[in-house]
């Protein structure tokens, strides 16, 4: 499956998606609303993207971007990166942990470190931080004058 074929497939599934081929892998930007539907289709495609090997978030100050790295167990040479822009004040996106089971833990990690709410997640609790921890430590505006040493 070439990049062109993947692009065609994604455009038919999510018409608003935009592409960026400057990096090593094909980058796809989707609206948060159309992500869940696209995820379903990618997982059940002819070449199934069934291996979610990285799920993370980047804080761009004005907005947050959730980044999904996907690959197929049938052909691990093919990798795609799906990104979705979220509003920093109210970051919300549909969970994908019913599509890729690994997302359950990865989403919990992103939830507590970035404050992204994954809608319909079965068990969205903190995984790493203590319950009385305030703020989202991996956001750029996080300040901790006692424990954080700035170089």
């Amino acid at each position: 499956m070439t990049n062109e074929a993947i692009k065609e497939f994604i455009t038919s599934a999510a018409p608003t998606a935009s592409f960026d081929e400057t990096g090593e892998w094909l980058n796809i930007s989707v609206e948060p609303g159309s992500w869940k539907d696209l995820a379903h289709k990618l997982r059940n495609a002819e070449l199934p993207f069934d291996y979610l090997f990285c799920l993370t978030c980047v804080d761009w100050k004005t907005h947050l971007t959730v980044v999904y790295h996907l690959s197929s167990s049938k052909n691990r040479q093919i990798n795609i990166v799906v990104k979705s822009k979220l509003d920093a004040a109210k970051p919300e996106i549909e969970t994908v942990c019913d599509i890729w089971r690994t997302a359950e833990f990865l989403e919990r990690e992103v939830f507590e470190l970035f404050g992204v709410v994954f809608l319909n997640h079965p068990d969205l609790r903190r995984l790493i931080l203590t319950d009385d921890f305030e703020g989202f430590p991996l956001r750029k505006d996080f300040e901790d004058p006692i424990n954080m040493i700035k170089l």
Partner: protein, 378 residues
Amino acid sequence: MYTQTEIIKDTTGIGSEGELVINVGPQHPATHGVLHLVITLNGETIKKIEPHLGYIHRSIEKMCESLNYRQFIYVTSRMDYLSAHINNQACALCVEKGMQIEVPDRAKVIRVLMAELTRIASHELWLGAMAMDLGAFTPFFYTFRERELITDIMEETCGARLTMNYMTPGGVTFDLHEDFQKKVKQFVIQFKEKVTEFEDLVTNNVIFRNRTEGVGIISPADAISYGCSGPVARASGVVSDLRKIAPYDAYDRVEFEEVLDTRGDSFARYIVRVKEMMQSIRIIEQLIDNIPEGDFQAKTKAVLKLPKGEFYSRVETARGELGVYIVSEGGTTPYRIKFRSPGFSNLSALDHMASGSKIGDLMATMGTLDLVIPDIDR
């Protein structure tokens, strides 16, 4: 309902009738680190396992945001301390990818040699510790005897036994020790001779086999869905060796086999790791007499600046796929860095693997996942 980090002292009112909730960890000899599992039991049968993490979370990702591209490599030795060398390699590869640095041949071969030695050392420690978890104490001494030789080689070459910090963007920090080849050859001879002892002690041990065969089975489809990698995925028959899928450094010039098994149980994971050690020996044998002459480091600027963009490099550590994702804004420090750690994904499959089995089998399942807690927590 109890909260996330609370250690349950009073279990009345939790779970339905007939259920028992117990804590394993954070201080437990078989977790080999501060992992906390809250286990719901029905009699002796496990109903649910909830891992609670964060006891050794240092937020290495945040720390790296204020370190430059030469410095951040050193912090990553403290993630998966048993594959410290391979962690460093992943970071160096990612910076090299961004800056398009061509690594000299000599450095590539040295890296692979050291990475394979690290892999053997890691698997040996795992083998000893895993057998100890199941009640066999002797294998620990046997495996540590050979592992000691590797740590000695590491100490002489890199100056450290565990946190090597031998990698730098563009190559390795200094050239090989003059006795390196001799010592590695000695090690290879001794290892090949003594590896049969592990087989006699562990592989063909009736107690060990009874405790691991058919325990903690995970199907290939589930292994993929849970994002498992490394020996855990390969024991279920999932092709996942990144040294084959996306060869980095000198892996494209050596011959070795990707060890696969189809049973998917604890014993299969054990067999995969033992066979993997032999493949590592095979790689070392091919390269040890063929270390090219030349520079051990490419000429790089003192201050490294990655161009604006996103870079992802992935390597096969002893535990599985380690990914380094750097988002650069063009400065001397990463804007955001993410480490995709193999242990984190493998741990997420534990609940699925152990639910429905007996509590006594938990250690056989957890032991073969080869969890390193600082790698999971980061």
